[in-house]
Amino acid sequence: MSKNLQTIGRRDFIKVSALTTGGLLLGIQFSCSNSTKDKAAKGILHRLNAYLSINTNGKVEIYNPVPEIGQGVRTALPMLVAEELNVAWQNIIVKQADASEAYGGYDQSAAGSNSVRFYWEPMRKAGAVARELLLQAAAAQWQLQEKVCYIEDGIIKNHLNSKELGIGDVAQQASTYKIPENVSLKTPNEFKFIGKSVKNPDIHEILSGKAVFGLDVRIPNMLYASMEKSTTYGATVLSFDASDALKVPGVKYAFKVSLHGIPERPFCREGVSVVGDSVWSVLQGRKALKITWDLGANTKESTQRLHEIGNRLVEKKGEAVVKNMGNVYSDLNTSKNTLEATYHLPFIAHIPMETVNCTIDLKDDSCEIWSTTQVPFADLNFLSNFFELPIERVKLHVTRIGGGFGRRLGPDFTIEAAKIAKELKQPIQYFWTREDDIRFDAYRPFSYHKLMAAWDNDLKITSWLHRQSGTSRYAFRPNKEPFESEFFPNNFPANLIANFRQEYSLIVSNINRSLIRAPGNNALAFVVESFIDELAHKTGQDPLLFRLNMLSMEDKEFSFEANSTISTKRMKGVLKLAAEKAAWGKQLADGRGMGIAGYFTFDTYVSHVADVSVDETGNLTIHKFTSAIDCGQVLNKDGVIAQIEGAIMDGLSATLFQEITISQGSTNEGNFNNYGVLKMSQSPIDINAYIVEGNYPPTGVGEPPYPPVAPALCNAIFAACGKRIRKLPIENQLKI
């Protein structure tokens, strides 16, 4: 991240023009990912509608490319532009970009904690180019050299005299210049915003109830639509009688919508859609439907069956060897000192606070969509194909979104909305209820894990075997091995133990599953970091020191994936910082304990120390979480802290309460009364989060703090009362 002169190449594809009101309009090609770059090199890119604009009144409008799902991207990405431009934050107006190749296309996804990694450079370049143009214009007006001019808080000044100009004053002039060939980007020591905290630009809209979420979209002549489906997965409609539904005042239509995908494991279930002029009418209409179902192929499926299979599979060698170093089996057989433990993680659902929805205005030759998707560009492509409309005729707006957690990565609700829209001549808002959300979700995979380890006389771990059985997300993907979504073979403690082996066996099931916040990692962190804790206790070592020793005194880096490395130094850094801030090792009252866990997810390192009490009757109180993160260069500091706080609460919800169970092919849970979310009284009163400063490129913060929550909590419970939690959720094992 050294200071450098950045060439503005053809790939950046920047065009300057005048706003109709006289300001400066800057078209930017956000060409960030390799895929986009490749296409750009081939000259496919030609659209130019991504921009930032500077009004004559000094206000700067910045288009944010990535959906805001609560991760703070509408603050963090515009900050990058504001930083290079040197404008006051209150003069920034953040607009939400439509889905478009011009904004990065597939890079626009709110997924994989990628936004800051993808947009770190392009957004700063956009700001830097605007800054250069404005300085040129001011220099010309003052007849000074450009290099003596600079911008401070949106005011252009110079080192030679006391003249000042607002950026708005020269915006029009700046719009007549060509883009500079080079711009220099700031070095970290020059940052004014980056690394500090700025205000959420949407705070007033949110607090006053004016923010427009997907369910708040209102367009003229719009109808509401929803769909009644069978709770039995894979059921199809034999026949239905909608006569009573159509008698409900306001209900206009009811029709069958066929399933999408493979009948025994459909991506979208079959059902009967009800369309009406109000949400309430549609809900009443759904209740009045009489549907006869063919229950299909999954009526024998149950989580009980999956428990039996999952348990059985980890007792024998796995079907696939994911990673194998040294000779684990012979070491385990010959060692005197061994430990084994079996863990389980249930299916869990995403339950974003705003249920999924999509508003579609389909005309004969065009279509406009307002969506709560996390993947706008993928949906745009899907819808353009589905409606057989050229992509230029389809506009997909992204609304403010009430939570994501990975729920909105799959286009199931979008497909259903599209199918319904096609049947009608009117715009529709298609929505799911909370019951739909929980019952028809695609869940975090169900898994069993058996771990075995051995150690030598110096109490050093010599072998590590991790067998997992589960309903892999990749079970039915062509060209993928089931284990690929469920193991990260180079995550710690890989490379730290001489004999190391991971095995995977697939539990075959049709139950629909998908990604949830920090996919794969959210299960692995619980298992790996709990077992490390067990080994520390078993060998009589302090869990923090045990981890630090395992990571070795010497700093090492290993290859993690293509373009990604994992560092012992940075992992030790977060462990030490969290421990130090939590006063790790201090004397605690009886029944009180601290637990630590650290995990690497999407190139970010996070460690939590949980501080809990468990009394004699098994009442659990969570007092405090102390956390440390190393996410490289921090963008919005307060945003990083907020993501840690939120991930702790989310992690606690999952660890304490959440479990989806299946009987006769159908999900038993159906609303917040039987699928728990952490409440205020159960949340820790104290959370202290710290950031490790370091000169690394920025990495994401939305997901990485989530995986280590469960093991930190469970390790603290063990320290407090000696009870080891190996199956989630905790709910029936302690009083919460």
């Binding site: 609560g70 949407d202 607090l207 109830g209 369910l215 606070m353 979104i401 609303n671 949340s683």
Partner: protein, 151 residues
């Protein structure tokens, strides 16, 4: 369908809706007051919290026919007034996705209107019915205490 005249946000409005229609859907479907949110429909999440005669209620489980002469206040009714809760929420930068926040604010205002200086227990009791999937509880607690100071 029946005609109801209700007091809402200091105004009287007349609507023609089914007696059992919950206030949540009257607000959203019939009155275009969209700051009150749907989260569960069964009084389990608090996203739809409004004030009926000053008390926080879950509007998704409140049939319009049961309102009678009561006065209703929604977030829109409060947003125009400068209650310290808004300032505190802004200072502490509480929201993440923001979806639950109007409901949280309505519960917090009701709490502070009857308890000028709530302690942690009082906050737990008043706010337990308001879920936040983004997990902003830590900041909500801080913001309520801050609002109490600002008051």
């Amino acid at each position: 369908m029946a005609i109801y005249t209700i007091q809402i946000n200091y105004k009287e409005v007349t609507i023609d809706v089914p007696a059992e229609k919950p206030v949540l859907w009257v607000l959203r479907d019939d009155l275009g007051l969209l700051g009150t949110k749907y989260g569960c429909g069964i009084a389990q999440c608090g996203a739809c919290t409004v004030h009926l005669n000053g008390n926080p209620v879950r509007s998704c489980a409140l049939p319009i026919a049961s309102i009678g002469k009561g006065t209703l206040l929604t977030i829109e009714g409060y947003a125009s007034k400068k209650h310290p809760v808004f300032k505190a929420w802004e200072e502490i930068n509480v929201p993440q996705c923001g979806y639950c926040q109007t409901g949280q604010i309505m519960s917090a205002i009701a709490l502070l209107n009857r308890n000028k200086n709530p302690d942690d227990k009082a906050i737990d009791a008043a706010m337990n019915g308001n879920l936040c999937r983004c997990g902003t509880y830590y900041r909500i607690r801080k913001a309520i205490k801050r609002a109490a100071k600002l008051n």
